[in-house]
């Protein structure tokens, strides 16, 4: 019974959201506000279950008192509610910003930037770059290495604004914009496909989980 009620709620909300395709209407606005309200409350409990319980409450129950410090910092964050003491919230913000900055300086450089540069330093006249995907490897050709090098370097030059884009730099930046446009187009195509697969999922739900069982129950 619970499942049937759930499916009807989900189907109703899905149709209300899709009604926006006709025009902005009260049904869409209703579902939109339900979405924000429900998601906000859900996020509170998600944070509680997956972050605060394992990292703050459980350690405290096991007498690991060190977690009192971030607990106090967290409480200091709430001083933003009171304008006179809002400056106290800078302390926990400073800790969060410090942790994030420290991670970027070392981990991001070692785990992301250096491997990316390493994979761009390819031999132009050597073996072609190979991928795990056997289909892609059918296209492997030493020219691929050159395309990767030229694409990466020219894209970087396009975003170099310390010198005017004239002469050699201007020409290189023009090649860069070609690569950037190709990348944006491909990313756009990829995003469209992802959204369409979501749309197919919703239509599949409406037909198979809601309408077909409804018709079956009506015809029996």
């Amino acid at each position: 019974m619970g499942q049937i009620i759930g499916v009807w709620i989900a189907a109703g909300l899905t149709l209300m959201i899709f009604s926006f395709l006709y025009k902005d209407n009260p049904f869409y606005k209703f579902a939109e506000h339900v979405y924000v309200g429900v998601s906000a409350a859900y996020t509170c409990f998600y944070t509680w279950d997956y972050f605060l319980m394992p990292k703050l409450i459980n350690p405290l129950l096991q007498h690991h008192w060190l977690v009192i410090i971030p607990g106090i910092f967290g409480a200091m964050m709430l001083t933003r509610w009171f304008p006179r003491s809002a400056w106290v919230s800078r302390w926990p913000i400073a800790v969060s910003v410090g942790v994030a900055s420290g991670l970027v300086v070392v981990q991001y450089m070692q785990g992301f930037v250096i491997p990316q540069i390493q994979n761009t330093l390819l031999p132009i006249a050597g073996p072609a770059v190979t991928f795990n995907n056997p289909i892609t490897n059918l296209w492997n050709h030493p020219l691929n290495n050159l395309i990767i090098i030229v694409g990466t370097v020219t894209t970087l030059v396009y975003f170099y604004f310390s010198k005017k884009h004239k002469g050699f730099i201007g020409g290189t930046a023009k090649v860069g914009i070609i690569f950037i446009m190709v990348a944006f187009g491909a990313s756009f195509g990829y995003t469209v496909m992802a959204r369409i697969s979501l749309l197919i999922g919703r239509i599949h739900f409406l037909i198979n989980d809601w309408l077909l069982p409804l018709f079956r129950s009506l015809t029996h």
Partner: protein, 212 residues
């Protein structure tokens, strides 16, 4: 003191992670995990600020009976309703409200997932109309954008099984792995270098805008 202590805290936490990376031995290697947990706990509390801000805005709407205050009432009602459900679920399942079988899990299954999936699915239609405007092949750049998008879309989901679509499928893969990746790599290396420079400025106290 109002500015100096936060600057010192940023410097110390940033440097602690730096040291933990270069000295992977006790107790330094534990510092990074501890500080990461601290940042997560602080972020958990920060969520309350966002929830407070959202509710304050909508409750003010309701009090003033501004245009569309009924929708603010709906939002507040559903927030309070799901929050109450969450508390009952947490009591029932010893603190873990999102345990499968709980009432909050039901809300997640039949409200949160359908609503978010439909919202994103709705974008398929708007992205198509945006594509029409962006892809009108008036200039070389727009033409390249159009070709790349069409190749990727048709290559990922071939319309039929024949030599042309087989070729397109392979070409789409090559397209994603070679020219697309090259440009993306260039952009990401640029972003990463910018983030690196900004992080250094923050740790050294040169960049202070986050304290405002």
């Amino acid at each position: 003191m109002r500015r100096q202590i936060p600057l010192i805290l940023t410097f110390l936490t940033g440097i602690a992670i730096f040291i933990a990376f270069f000295i992977p031995h006790k107790p330094f290697n534990e510092v990074q995990d501890i500080l990461l947990d601290w940042a997560i706990i602080i972020a958990g509390f920060a969520l309350l600020l966002g929830i407070h801000s959202l509710l304050r805005k909508h409750i003010t709407h309701i009090k003033k009976k501004d245009g569309g205050w009924g929708y603010s009432l709906i939002l507040t009602f559903f927030f309070v309703g799901v929050f109450t459900v969450g508390i009952f679920s947490a009591i029932q399942y010893k603190g873990y409200s999102l345990t499968p079988g709980s009432l909050l899990y039901f809300v997640y299954d039949y409200m949160v997932i359908p609503l978010s999936a439909t919202m994103f699915a709705l974008l398929a239609f708007f992205i198509a109309s945006a594509a029409y405007r962006a892809f009108r092949a008036r200039r070389l750049n727009a033409t390249l954008l159009l070709i790349a998008a069409v190749v990727v879309m048709l290559g990922r989901v071939p319309i039929m099984e024949n030599a042309f679509f087989n070729f397109l499928s392979r070409f789409s893969d090559w397209f994603m792995f070679i020219p697309q990746m090259a440009a993306k790599r260039g952009i990401l290396i640029g972003v990463a270098l910018g983030a690196f420079a900004m992080s250094l400025r923050i740790i050294l106290g040169i960049e202070r805008t986050y304290l405002q």
